[in-house]
Subunit: 147 residues, 2 copies
Amino acid sequence: MRIGELAIAAQSDVDTIRYYEKIGILHKPARTEGNYRYYKGAHVDRLRFVRHCRALDMTLDEVRLLLQFRDAPESDCAGVNQVLDEHIGHVTERIETLTLLEKELRRLRRQCRKALKAKDCGILVEIGNDAALVGRKAAKRHVAGTH
Amino acid sequence: MRIGELAIAAQSDVDTIRYYEKIGILHKPARTEGNYRYYKGAHVDRLRFVRHCRALDMTLDEVRLLLQFRDAPESDCAGVNQVLDEHIGHVTERIETLTLLEKELRRLRRQCRKALKAKDCGILVEIGNDAALVGRKAAKRHVAGTH
DNA sequence: AGAAACACTGGAGCCACTCCAGAGTCAAGC
DNA sequence: GCTTGACTCTGGAGTGGCTCCAGTGTTTCT
């Protein structure tokens, strides 16, 4: 099958497939006479695996780890569990952070109930205040920002 | 004050300050004879405002909007409320998505309780399965991925 | 006077794509 | 055989929000 078909089969995108090949997530496929990439069933399976991991919000580095186990069927799968446990930890942590953030944002939102002049708006005033700074120093984590 | 002092005063980083200047979030400051940036109180206030917004996980585009209101004290602040309401919506939505994701990940994790050979690991098997693909097509939103 | 600490610029790197231009390939219809 | 249109190829730039770097200059302290 050609790249477009593969994209459909694995719910992906041709650009993404080429990108995965470039960074070594997918193996280089054979080429046709006209230099088109030519894929087989194993490629579909592998790409689906990757897309599923991405749908679970794993990084490509995590996916790479899982692929190593997938490529070594006789190896011990403890590492798989570890990857998953850590990823779950990050997701849980991120939910907690966002929940706090939501609370803080809703509180801030209540500082202005009606349209006022900007200089009197409780929201702008408070954002400009020192005291208002929430304790969110280390905003860096595996499970990332809101954007 | 010089850039390093400003960074401390606003809990920021000198590289970030120069970056904000480059993209127009912060005004260009005066320079000393030795070509060092030279900041005053207004700069501290503005940068603190920006850092507070970022701590609330707003994008720099959202911050730019809020700064416009801050720079026009006589303007109507309805737009401020709107920016906040939309941002809160994104955060709430992201929490919901992540909560579903967490559930799915924990379910997946239960597929393998003890260390097995990779080929028998319920997790790897299931990730490789079609049926396992969660309905998370449109993963793109203002409130973003887990990383 | 020399060392340490700070600041300057321009550019690269991060992640996971996404989009583009300009060229080539291929199948179907006339 | 020729045209049209859909598909594919490559290499490179852009996204956000920084972060880090090299190589150079300035200031401060001893």
